[in-house]
Protein backbone atom coordinates (compact mmCIF):
# COMPACT_ATOMS: atom_id res chain seq x y z
CA UNK A 1 0.00 0.00 0.00
CA UNK A 2 2.79 2.35 0.96
CA UNK A 3 4.69 1.73 -2.26
CA UNK A 4 1.57 1.95 -4.29
CA UNK A 5 0.78 5.39 -2.95
CA UNK A 6 4.34 6.53 -3.53
CA UNK A 7 4.24 5.20 -7.06
CA UNK A 8 0.93 6.96 -7.73
CA UNK A 9 2.38 10.27 -6.57
CA UNK A 10 5.44 9.80 -8.77
CA UNK A 11 3.26 8.92 -11.71
CA UNK A 12 1.14 11.99 -11.16
CA UNK A 13 4.18 14.22 -11.12
CA UNK A 14 5.65 12.56 -14.18
CA UNK A 15 2.41 12.88 -16.11
CA UNK A 16 2.11 16.56 -15.32
CA UNK A 17 5.73 17.17 -16.16
CA UNK A 18 5.75 15.23 -19.40
CA UNK A 19 2.93 17.37 -20.71
CA UNK A 20 4.71 20.69 -20.30
CA UNK A 21 8.30 19.76 -19.49
CA UNK A 22 8.57 23.21 -18.00
CA UNK A 23 10.52 22.34 -14.87
CA UNK A 24 12.82 19.98 -16.71
CA UNK A 25 13.89 22.43 -19.39
CA UNK A 26 14.26 25.39 -17.08
CA UNK A 27 16.22 23.41 -14.48
CA UNK A 28 18.58 21.95 -17.04
CA UNK A 29 19.20 25.31 -18.60
CA UNK A 30 19.75 26.95 -15.25
CA UNK A 31 22.29 24.28 -14.30
CA UNK A 32 24.17 24.79 -17.56
CA UNK A 33 24.16 28.55 -17.01
CA UNK A 34 25.55 27.97 -13.51
CA UNK A 35 28.36 25.86 -14.89
CA UNK A 36 29.27 28.60 -17.31
CA UNK A 37 29.23 31.33 -14.70
CA UNK A 38 31.42 29.34 -12.38
CA UNK A 39 33.68 28.40 -15.23
CA UNK A 40 34.31 32.05 -15.95
CA UNK A 41 34.99 32.66 -12.31
CA UNK A 42 37.29 29.72 -11.73
CA UNK A 43 39.23 29.29 -14.94
CA UNK A 44 42.49 31.14 -15.08
CA UNK A 45 44.39 31.53 -18.35
CA UNK A 46 42.42 28.75 -19.90
CA UNK A 47 43.11 26.23 -17.16
CA UNK A 48 40.60 25.50 -14.43
CA UNK A 49 41.65 25.67 -10.81
CA UNK A 50 42.35 22.36 -9.18
CA UNK A 51 39.22 20.37 -8.37
CA UNK A 52 37.13 23.10 -9.96
CA UNK A 53 35.22 20.62 -12.09
CA UNK A 54 33.99 18.61 -9.12
CA UNK A 55 33.04 21.71 -7.17
CA UNK A 56 31.24 23.33 -10.07
CA UNK A 57 29.24 20.21 -10.76
CA UNK A 58 27.91 19.86 -7.24
CA UNK A 59 27.24 23.55 -6.76
CA UNK A 60 25.26 23.67 -9.98
CA UNK A 61 23.26 20.63 -8.92
CA UNK A 62 22.58 22.20 -5.53
CA UNK A 63 21.42 25.52 -7.00
CA UNK A 64 19.38 23.89 -9.74
CA UNK A 65 17.89 21.49 -7.23
CA UNK A 66 16.79 24.34 -4.98
CA UNK A 67 15.04 26.00 -7.88
CA UNK A 68 13.40 22.78 -8.99
CA UNK A 69 12.13 22.13 -5.45
CA UNK A 70 10.69 25.60 -5.26
CA UNK A 71 8.99 25.29 -8.62
CA UNK A 72 7.58 21.84 -7.96
CA UNK A 73 5.91 22.82 -4.73
CA UNK A 74 4.84 26.17 -6.09
CA UNK A 75 2.94 24.24 -8.72
CA UNK A 76 1.31 22.17 -6.01
CA UNK A 77 0.41 25.20 -4.02
CA UNK A 78 -1.03 27.00 -7.02
CA UNK A 79 -3.31 24.15 -7.94
CA UNK A 80 -4.07 23.40 -4.27
CA UNK A 81 -3.17 19.81 -4.97
CA UNK A 82 -1.03 19.58 -1.84
CA UNK A 83 -4.08 20.05 0.34
CA UNK A 84 -5.86 17.43 -1.70
CA UNK A 85 -2.98 15.06 -1.18
CA UNK A 86 -3.04 15.69 2.55
CA UNK A 87 -6.78 15.05 2.69
CA UNK A 88 -6.46 11.81 0.78
CA UNK A 89 -6.60 8.63 2.88
CA UNK A 90 -2.98 7.88 2.15
CA UNK A 91 -0.17 7.66 4.63
CA UNK A 92 1.77 10.89 4.73
CA UNK A 93 5.20 9.30 4.61
CA UNK A 94 4.20 7.57 1.39
CA UNK A 95 3.32 10.93 -0.14
CA UNK A 96 6.69 12.24 0.97
CA UNK A 97 8.48 9.30 -0.65
CA UNK A 98 6.54 9.88 -3.85
CA UNK A 99 7.55 13.53 -4.01
CA UNK A 100 11.12 12.60 -3.10
CA UNK A 101 11.39 10.09 -5.93
CA UNK A 102 10.05 12.66 -8.37
CA UNK A 103 12.67 15.21 -7.40
CA UNK A 104 15.47 12.66 -7.42
CA UNK A 105 14.47 11.56 -10.89
CA UNK A 106 14.48 15.12 -12.15
CA UNK A 107 17.89 15.87 -10.66
CA UNK A 108 19.37 12.65 -12.03
CA UNK A 109 18.28 13.70 -15.51
CA UNK A 110 19.90 17.09 -14.98
CA UNK A 111 23.09 15.39 -13.81
CA UNK A 112 23.08 13.08 -16.80
CA UNK A 113 23.30 16.17 -18.98
CA UNK A 114 25.68 18.07 -16.74
CA UNK A 115 28.36 15.40 -16.29
CA UNK A 116 29.25 15.01 -19.98
CA UNK A 117 29.21 18.79 -20.29
CA UNK A 118 31.69 19.13 -17.46
CA UNK A 119 33.80 16.37 -18.90
CA UNK A 120 33.88 18.34 -22.11
CA UNK A 121 34.53 21.80 -20.73
CA UNK A 122 37.07 20.88 -18.08
CA UNK A 123 38.67 17.81 -19.61
CA UNK A 124 37.55 15.89 -16.57
CA UNK A 125 38.00 12.11 -16.80
CA UNK A 126 34.35 11.22 -16.30
CA UNK A 127 34.76 7.85 -17.93
CA UNK A 128 37.53 6.55 -15.71
CA UNK A 129 35.29 5.28 -12.92
CA UNK A 130 31.73 5.56 -14.22
CA UNK A 131 30.11 3.28 -11.63
CA UNK A 132 31.68 5.05 -8.67
CA UNK A 133 30.76 8.40 -10.10
CA UNK A 134 27.17 7.29 -10.57
CA UNK A 135 27.12 5.93 -7.03
CA UNK A 136 28.30 9.25 -5.65
CA UNK A 137 25.79 11.19 -7.69
CA UNK A 138 22.87 8.96 -6.72
CA UNK A 139 23.61 8.92 -2.99
CA UNK A 140 24.37 12.63 -2.96
CA UNK A 141 21.22 13.50 -4.87
CA UNK A 142 19.08 11.40 -2.57
CA UNK A 143 20.58 13.10 0.48
CA UNK A 144 20.10 16.59 -0.88
CA UNK A 145 16.58 15.85 -2.11
CA UNK A 146 15.52 14.15 1.11
CA UNK A 147 16.11 17.27 3.15
CA UNK A 148 15.00 19.56 0.33
CA UNK A 149 11.66 17.85 -0.26
CA UNK A 150 10.78 18.01 3.41
CA UNK A 151 11.71 21.66 3.78
CA UNK A 152 10.06 22.70 0.53
CA UNK A 153 6.86 20.89 1.51
CA UNK A 154 6.75 22.50 4.93
CA UNK A 155 7.48 25.94 3.52
CA UNK A 156 4.58 25.81 1.07
CA UNK A 157 2.36 27.76 3.41
CA UNK A 158 5.05 30.03 4.81
CA UNK A 159 5.81 33.60 3.88
CA UNK A 160 8.99 34.44 1.97
CA UNK A 161 9.22 30.81 1.03
CA UNK A 162 11.48 31.39 -1.96
CA UNK A 163 14.36 32.73 0.05
CA UNK A 164 13.66 30.59 3.10
CA UNK A 165 14.36 27.36 1.28
CA UNK A 166 18.05 28.05 0.56
CA UNK A 167 18.51 29.56 4.02
CA UNK A 168 17.26 26.38 5.61
CA UNK A 169 18.54 23.87 3.10
CA UNK A 170 22.16 24.82 2.51
CA UNK A 171 23.52 24.61 6.06
CA UNK A 172 21.93 21.21 6.55
CA UNK A 173 23.21 19.79 3.28
CA UNK A 174 26.80 20.94 3.67
CA UNK A 175 28.02 17.42 4.51
CA UNK A 176 26.47 16.23 1.25
CA UNK A 177 28.31 18.90 -0.70
CA UNK A 178 31.60 18.22 1.03
CA UNK A 179 31.34 14.49 0.49
CA UNK A 180 30.14 14.85 -3.09
CA UNK A 181 32.81 17.31 -4.12
CA UNK A 182 35.69 15.54 -2.39
CA UNK A 183 34.55 12.15 -3.65
CA UNK A 184 34.18 13.39 -7.21
CA UNK A 185 37.52 15.17 -7.03
CA UNK A 186 39.10 11.93 -5.84
CA UNK A 187 37.67 10.18 -8.89
CA UNK A 188 38.84 12.90 -11.24
CA UNK A 189 42.46 12.60 -10.14
CA UNK A 190 44.91 11.34 -12.79
CA UNK A 191 45.13 8.18 -10.67
CA UNK A 192 41.64 7.90 -9.19
CA UNK A 193 41.66 7.41 -5.41
CA UNK A 194 39.09 4.62 -5.22
CA UNK A 195 39.19 3.98 -1.49
CA UNK A 196 38.74 7.68 -0.76
CA UNK A 197 35.77 7.90 -3.10
CA UNK A 198 34.24 4.83 -1.51
CA UNK A 199 34.64 6.31 1.94
CA UNK A 200 32.82 9.46 0.87
CA UNK A 201 30.13 7.35 -0.74
CA UNK A 202 29.69 5.43 2.49
CA UNK A 203 29.30 8.69 4.37
CA UNK A 204 26.68 9.84 1.87
CA UNK A 205 24.79 6.58 2.16
CA UNK A 206 24.75 6.90 5.93
CA UNK A 207 23.57 10.49 5.64
CA UNK A 208 20.77 9.32 3.32
CA UNK A 209 19.58 6.66 5.72
CA UNK A 210 19.58 8.98 8.72
CA UNK A 211 17.89 11.90 7.05
CA UNK A 212 15.31 10.01 5.05
CA UNK A 213 14.30 8.31 8.29
CA UNK A 214 14.19 11.64 10.12
CA UNK A 215 12.13 13.14 7.30
CA UNK A 216 9.67 10.26 7.35
CA UNK A 217 9.20 10.74 11.08
CA UNK A 218 8.72 14.49 10.94
CA UNK A 219 6.65 14.79 7.74
CA UNK A 220 3.38 13.98 9.48
CA UNK A 221 3.67 16.42 12.41
CA UNK A 222 5.00 19.14 10.15
CA UNK A 223 2.28 19.01 7.56
CA UNK A 224 -0.63 18.96 9.98
CA UNK A 225 -2.00 22.28 11.10
Amino acid sequence: MFLRVAWLVVRKDLTVEVRSREILYTTVFFAVACVLVFAFALVKEGRPLEDAAAGIMWISVAFAGTLALGRTFERERHAETLRALMLAPASRPAIYVGKLLGIVLLLLIVEAILVPLIGLLFNAPIGSRPLSLMGLLVTGTIGFSAVGTLFAAMLVRARSRDVMLPILLYPITIPVIIAGVRGTAALFEPVPADDLAQMWMALLAFFDIVFVTLALWTFEPLMTE
Binding site: I167, R182, F206
Partner: protein, 225 residues
Amino acid sequence: MNRVYPVGVVLAVLMFAAAPYLVMAAPDMQVQGATPGVLLSYKIFFYHVPSAMVMFLAAFICGIASAIYLFRARPGADHIAAAAAELVVLFGLIVLVTGPLWARKAWGVWWQWDARLTSTLLMWMIFVAYLLVRRFGGPGAEKLSAAMAVFGTANVPFVYVSVNIWRTLHPATSVVPTLDPGMRPAFWFCVVSFMLLFGLLLALRTRLEQRRAHVEQLYLLADED
Protein backbone atom coordinates in the same frame (compact mmCIF):
# COMPACT_ATOMS: atom_id res chain seq x y z
CA MET B 1 10.84 31.31 41.32
CA ASN B 2 10.69 35.06 41.76
CA ARG B 3 12.92 34.88 44.79
CA VAL B 4 15.54 32.86 42.98
CA TYR B 5 16.04 35.47 40.29
CA PRO B 6 17.55 38.29 42.36
CA VAL B 7 19.80 35.88 44.22
CA GLY B 8 20.95 34.31 40.98
CA VAL B 9 21.49 37.65 39.37
CA VAL B 10 23.58 39.04 42.21
CA LEU B 11 25.63 35.87 42.29
CA ALA B 12 26.24 35.93 38.53
CA VAL B 13 27.21 39.58 38.61
CA LEU B 14 29.66 39.06 41.46
CA MET B 15 31.21 36.09 39.76
CA PHE B 16 31.63 37.93 36.51
CA ALA B 17 33.18 40.85 38.31
CA ALA B 18 35.64 38.57 40.03
CA ALA B 19 36.48 36.63 36.90
CA PRO B 20 38.93 39.07 35.29
CA TYR B 21 41.04 39.16 38.45
CA LEU B 22 41.21 35.39 38.62
CA VAL B 23 42.00 35.22 34.95
CA MET B 24 44.87 37.67 35.18
CA ALA B 25 46.23 35.90 38.22
CA ALA B 26 46.29 32.51 36.54
CA PRO B 27 49.66 31.21 35.46
CA ASP B 28 50.64 31.54 31.84
CA MET B 29 50.60 28.92 29.17
CA GLN B 30 53.81 26.98 28.87
CA VAL B 31 54.73 27.39 25.27
CA GLN B 32 58.31 27.45 24.17
CA GLY B 33 59.49 30.58 22.56
CA ALA B 34 56.19 32.40 22.83
CA THR B 35 56.26 36.16 22.90
CA PRO B 36 54.56 38.04 25.76
CA GLY B 37 51.86 39.06 23.31
CA VAL B 38 50.98 35.49 22.53
CA LEU B 39 50.89 34.56 26.20
CA LEU B 40 48.59 37.43 27.05
CA SER B 41 46.23 36.52 24.24
CA TYR B 42 45.72 33.10 25.84
CA LYS B 43 43.71 34.82 28.53
CA ILE B 44 40.89 35.03 26.03
CA PHE B 45 40.60 31.27 26.46
CA PHE B 46 38.89 31.77 29.84
CA TYR B 47 35.86 33.37 28.23
CA HIS B 48 36.04 31.64 24.88
CA VAL B 49 35.82 28.02 26.01
CA PRO B 50 33.03 28.41 28.61
CA SER B 51 31.03 30.32 25.99
CA ALA B 52 31.51 27.42 23.58
CA MET B 53 30.36 24.97 26.24
CA VAL B 54 27.25 27.05 26.89
CA MET B 55 26.58 27.33 23.17
CA PHE B 56 26.60 23.59 22.66
CA LEU B 57 24.51 23.02 25.74
CA ALA B 58 21.95 25.52 24.48
CA ALA B 59 21.92 23.86 21.06
CA PHE B 60 21.34 20.49 22.67
CA ILE B 61 18.47 21.87 24.75
CA CYS B 62 16.94 23.51 21.71
CA GLY B 63 17.15 20.29 19.71
CA ILE B 64 15.49 18.21 22.42
CA ALA B 65 12.81 20.82 23.11
CA SER B 66 12.07 21.13 19.39
CA ALA B 67 11.69 17.38 19.05
CA ILE B 68 9.30 17.32 22.00
CA TYR B 69 7.31 20.17 20.47
CA LEU B 70 7.09 18.45 17.09
CA PHE B 71 6.13 15.03 18.33
CA ARG B 72 4.21 15.81 21.50
CA ALA B 73 2.83 19.25 20.58
CA ARG B 74 3.61 20.79 23.96
CA PRO B 75 3.70 24.58 23.60
CA GLY B 76 5.95 24.90 26.64
CA ALA B 77 8.65 23.01 24.81
CA ASP B 78 8.47 25.48 21.95
CA HIS B 79 9.02 28.40 24.33
CA ILE B 80 12.13 26.77 25.72
CA ALA B 81 13.37 25.96 22.24
CA ALA B 82 12.95 29.56 21.07
CA ALA B 83 14.79 30.88 24.10
CA ALA B 84 17.59 28.35 23.76
CA ALA B 85 18.02 29.13 20.06
CA GLU B 86 18.52 32.82 20.81
CA LEU B 87 21.14 31.90 23.36
CA VAL B 88 22.92 29.66 20.87
CA VAL B 89 23.20 32.63 18.52
CA LEU B 90 24.29 34.91 21.36
CA PHE B 91 26.99 32.71 22.83
CA GLY B 92 27.96 31.49 19.38
CA LEU B 93 28.61 35.08 18.41
CA ILE B 94 30.84 35.42 21.45
CA VAL B 95 32.75 32.27 20.51
CA LEU B 96 33.12 33.23 16.86
CA VAL B 97 34.42 36.70 17.67
CA THR B 98 36.71 35.93 20.62
CA GLY B 99 38.15 32.95 18.74
CA PRO B 100 39.63 34.87 15.84
CA LEU B 101 40.78 37.64 18.16
CA TRP B 102 42.78 35.03 20.01
CA ALA B 103 43.82 33.15 16.91
CA ARG B 104 45.23 36.26 15.27
CA LYS B 105 47.84 36.40 17.99
CA ALA B 106 48.37 32.73 18.69
CA TRP B 107 48.30 31.30 15.18
CA GLY B 108 48.89 34.35 13.05
CA VAL B 109 45.67 33.93 11.10
CA TRP B 110 42.11 35.01 11.77
CA TRP B 111 40.46 31.78 10.69
CA GLN B 112 41.25 28.17 9.87
CA TRP B 113 38.99 25.69 8.13
CA ASP B 114 39.36 22.89 10.62
CA ALA B 115 36.60 20.62 11.86
CA ARG B 116 35.84 22.37 15.09
CA LEU B 117 35.72 25.92 13.78
CA THR B 118 33.74 25.01 10.69
CA SER B 119 31.16 22.95 12.51
CA THR B 120 30.75 25.68 15.12
CA LEU B 121 30.19 28.26 12.39
CA LEU B 122 27.71 25.99 10.68
CA MET B 123 25.78 25.26 13.83
CA TRP B 124 25.60 28.99 14.49
CA MET B 125 24.21 29.59 11.01
CA ILE B 126 21.63 26.87 11.45
CA PHE B 127 20.30 28.57 14.55
CA VAL B 128 20.38 31.98 12.90
CA ALA B 129 18.21 30.38 10.23
CA TYR B 130 15.97 29.12 13.05
CA LEU B 131 15.45 32.66 14.28
CA LEU B 132 14.86 33.94 10.74
CA VAL B 133 12.21 31.33 10.09
CA ARG B 134 10.48 32.13 13.36
CA ARG B 135 10.46 35.80 12.57
CA PHE B 136 9.62 35.79 8.86
CA GLY B 137 7.96 32.47 8.32
CA GLY B 138 4.43 33.67 8.89
CA PRO B 139 1.82 31.51 10.61
CA GLY B 140 2.91 28.08 11.64
CA ALA B 141 6.53 29.19 11.76
CA GLU B 142 7.05 27.50 15.13
CA LYS B 143 6.85 24.08 13.56
CA LEU B 144 9.15 24.99 10.70
CA SER B 145 11.79 26.26 13.07
CA ALA B 146 11.40 23.19 15.25
CA ALA B 147 12.11 21.00 12.22
CA MET B 148 15.14 23.13 11.46
CA ALA B 149 16.45 22.69 14.98
CA VAL B 150 15.93 18.92 14.94
CA PHE B 151 17.62 18.51 11.56
CA GLY B 152 20.38 20.89 12.49
CA THR B 153 21.20 19.13 15.72
CA ALA B 154 21.12 15.74 14.01
CA ASN B 155 23.48 17.12 11.42
CA VAL B 156 26.26 18.08 13.79
CA PRO B 157 28.07 14.71 13.81
CA PHE B 158 27.97 14.55 10.02
CA VAL B 159 29.40 18.01 9.65
CA TYR B 160 32.14 17.29 12.15
CA VAL B 161 33.14 14.00 10.52
CA SER B 162 33.07 15.28 6.96
CA VAL B 163 34.99 18.45 7.73
CA ASN B 164 37.47 16.47 9.81
CA ILE B 165 38.19 14.09 6.97
CA TRP B 166 38.24 16.97 4.51
CA ARG B 167 40.83 18.78 6.54
CA THR B 168 43.06 15.99 7.71
CA LEU B 169 43.96 15.35 4.12
CA HIS B 170 45.67 18.72 4.43
CA PRO B 171 46.95 18.70 7.98
CA ALA B 172 46.54 21.77 10.12
CA THR B 173 47.55 22.45 13.68
CA SER B 174 44.75 23.67 15.85
CA VAL B 175 44.07 22.22 19.24
CA VAL B 176 43.00 23.71 22.52
CA PRO B 177 45.91 23.09 24.83
CA THR B 178 45.66 20.75 27.78
CA LEU B 179 45.03 22.58 30.95
CA ASP B 180 47.83 23.52 33.30
CA PRO B 181 46.69 22.71 36.88
CA GLY B 182 47.36 26.27 37.97
CA MET B 183 44.76 27.51 35.55
CA ARG B 184 42.01 25.18 36.60
CA PRO B 185 40.47 27.32 39.35
CA ALA B 186 40.13 30.33 37.07
CA PHE B 187 38.79 28.20 34.25
CA TRP B 188 36.18 26.37 36.24
CA PHE B 189 35.16 29.58 37.94
CA CYS B 190 34.46 31.04 34.51
CA VAL B 191 32.59 27.91 33.48
CA VAL B 192 30.34 28.13 36.51
CA SER B 193 29.77 31.86 35.92
CA PHE B 194 28.75 31.27 32.34
CA MET B 195 26.52 28.35 33.20
CA LEU B 196 24.81 30.40 35.86
CA LEU B 197 24.36 33.25 33.42
CA PHE B 198 23.00 30.85 30.84
CA GLY B 199 20.50 29.40 33.26
CA LEU B 200 19.25 32.85 34.20
CA LEU B 201 19.01 34.06 30.62
CA LEU B 202 17.22 30.90 29.54
CA ALA B 203 14.69 31.21 32.34
CA LEU B 204 14.12 34.90 31.64
CA ARG B 205 13.79 34.45 27.90
CA THR B 206 11.45 31.47 28.27
CA ARG B 207 9.22 33.53 30.55
CA LEU B 208 9.19 36.29 27.95
CA GLU B 209 8.24 33.80 25.28
CA GLN B 210 5.44 32.37 27.41
CA ARG B 211 4.06 35.84 28.00
CA ARG B 212 4.28 36.68 24.31
CA ALA B 213 2.38 33.54 23.38
CA HIS B 214 -0.21 34.34 26.04
CA VAL B 215 -0.63 37.84 24.61
CA GLU B 216 -1.20 36.41 21.16
CA GLN B 217 -3.93 34.22 22.51
CA LEU B 218 -5.48 37.21 24.24
CA TYR B 219 -5.42 39.12 20.96
CA LEU B 220 -7.33 36.31 19.31
CA LEU B 221 -9.87 36.35 22.11
CA ALA B 222 -10.25 40.09 21.90
CA ASP B 223 -10.75 39.98 18.16
CA GLU B 224 -13.37 37.33 18.33
CA ASP B 225 -16.02 39.73 19.58
